[in-house]
């Protein structure tokens, strides 16, 4: 277990370093673009639209997450147990990431689904569900130490899940609202944005072949995708989401292993 934890730790550090590298490169790319005045309205427009989509999906996911959360907890006698179930449930992004990867690979390998509505909807659904569960997870992993005690306290006092929410969680959320918001923004900024920026800029302006990201995904698949030159925005976006959750999962298991230690 300790050995596994070490591997995950190293992977986590590696991903973190890569993220900062991407950050740096994206900032440099941005500066170059502005310098050569190539950052046109069209690029900006596409960028903003995608950001708006991310925000709407995230908000929807949070809302759905909260509803599911409430429903499941309502039917459980033990708040602590319900949280345990939910933490397990929130690890579902792996499944949806897997579905996303399968669809993506199928499309790129067999080139069947060009502009196919079914494909777009599948990717989009996979994105929504993944984001939903990961948002849920984000909300769940923040209450880790003190909140566990509070859950037990409410259980001891004969409270139900709604009491935990009504009295303690809401009050904690109010006090720590900025932590929740910052964590969410941080997740999007650190995981999605730099990669998205660098690839979008690279593809559009520098005939970029993304060797730099082949670490994450077999190069030829990306190459194929770019050669096809169709609807690149949606593909890259889906790809970003997949990356996001792979990275997220490494973080997740790393943390779980640390708790088990």
């Amino acid at each position: 277990m300790i050995r596994m934890s070490k591997i995950f730790n190293s992977l986590d550090s590696l991903f973190m370093s890569l993220k900062y590298l991407f950050y740096l490169l994206s900032i440099m790319g941005m500066i170059i673009l502005i310098y050569y005045s190539k950052f046109t309205y069209d690029v900006f427009n596409r960028f903003v639209i995608n950001l708006v989509i991310i925000s709407i999906v995230s908000m929807l996911a949070l809302l759905c997450g909260y509803t599911i959360f409430k429903l499941i907890l309502e039917y459980s006698n033990s708040i602590k147990k319900a949280f345990d179930i939910l933490i397990k449930l929130s690890s579902l992004p792996l499944l949806f990431t897997f579905i996303g990867i399968c669809l993506f690979s199928y499309k790129v390998l067999f080139l069947y689904w060009n502009n196919c509505l079914f494909y777009e909807i599948s990717i989009f659904l996979s994105l929504i569900i993944s984001t939903l569960f990961s948002s849920l997870h984000l909300l769940l992993i923040i209450p880790k130490n003190k909140e566990q005690e509070y859950m037990i306290l409410v259980d001891y006092l004969g409270g139900k899940v709604k009491d935990y929410f009504k009295i303690i969680a809401v009050s904690n959320l109010k006090t720590n609202l900025y932590i929740y918001i910052l964590s969410f923004i941080k997740y999007i900024l650190v995981n999605i944005l730099p990669l998205y920026l660098i690839i979008q800029i690279g593809i559009l302006y520098f005939d970029f072949k993304p060797v730099i990201i082949s670490y994450y995904y077999p190069y030829y698949l990306i190459d194929q995708m770019i050669k096809q030159n169709y609807n690149i925005g949606a593909d890259v976006f889906a790809y970003m989401v997949i990356l996001f959750f792979v990275n997220y999962f490494i973080n997740y298991y790393n943390r779980e292993l640390q708790y088990e230690k």
Binding site: E149, L157, G159, K160, S171
Partner: protein, 251 residues
């Protein structure tokens, strides 16, 4: 039997496939303080938690055999969990203080059980009176609990459950979290609580068990070895294992 309040009938508890309590047969009268002693992993806390079904919070698989009767009702079959935990109130060894004021903490229980707000002050007054602490806390209700001493935090955790008017107090050994002078100060109040409640308390120190209890129970490996009046238990134990335990053999 007259005054029979809590009764364990052939009660066994298996947690995650490990037997923790074996064929417990025990009768506890009303308004007693039963101090529970025994070596580590004897099942003391599990016995306590059996009375408000909180073992289920900490273990995935819980198997129960036999029955526990409280006022002749088998709590394992017929219970409303929320009501059961209100009436058989559990007080953990380390006071869990919810981040807020003294008032926030005191009213946590009554809020959970939907007591109308206009009665809160009465409930809190009642609970603090029971702990002889109203005079001390009446001007400190808006104070942050973080500023309270450990003894006062302990009193808040007692007051919080007493406000719910329980019948039984299930108390983990709080003596480890307060110093000796605080213990001496609180022990007198604690002993007086038996006028209103039946108390079961886990003790890790035999001296504390002897001071606080009216009755004492020795558990070893999930079995009841001896349960007797406290003075008799310590001065003239009936079982050989009790003598050995008290002489320090099991340590």
């Amino acid at each position: 039997m007259k005054n029979e309040f809590i009764k364990f009938n052939d009660y066994s508890l298996i947690l995650d496939d490990e037997i923790r309590l074996k064929n417990i047969n025990l009768m506890i009268k009303k308004n007693t303080i039963l101090t529970i002693i025994g070596p580590s992993r004897a099942g003391k806390v599990n016995l306590l938690r059996s009375l408000n079904l909180t073992n289920q919070l900490f273990h995935k698989k819980v198997e129960i055999r036999g029955e526990i009767l409280i006022d002749k009702t088998n709590i394992i079959q017929n219970y409303d969990l929320s009501y059961l935990r209100r009436k058989n109130a559990y007080i953990s060894a380390k006071p869990i203080m919810y981040n807020g004021t003294v008032w926030d903490n005191l009213t946590l229980g009554v809020k959970i059980h939907n007591v109308p707000e206009k009665y809160w002050a009465n409930y809190i007054r009642y609970s603090l009176d029971a702990l002889e602490s109203w005079e001390y806390f009446k001007d400190k209700l808006d104070l942050s609990v973080k500023k309270l001493s450990k003894l006062n935090q302990l009193k808040i955790s007692f007051a919080r459950v007493i406000a719910l008017n329980p019948n039984i107090l299930l108390v983990e050994d709080f003596t480890r979290y307060i110093d000796i002078s605080a213990f001496l100060e609180f022990s007198d109040v604690f002993i007086k609580l038996r006028r209103k409640f039946t108390i079961l308390m886990v003790c890790y120190d035999n001296k504390h068990a002897a001071k606080l209890g009216t009755h004492t129970l020795l558990l070893i490996d999930g079995r009841v070895i001896e349960c007797n009046e406290t003075r008799r238990f310590f001065e003239r134990p009936v079982k050989k294992e009790t003598e050995e335990y008290l002489s320090g053999k099991f340590f």
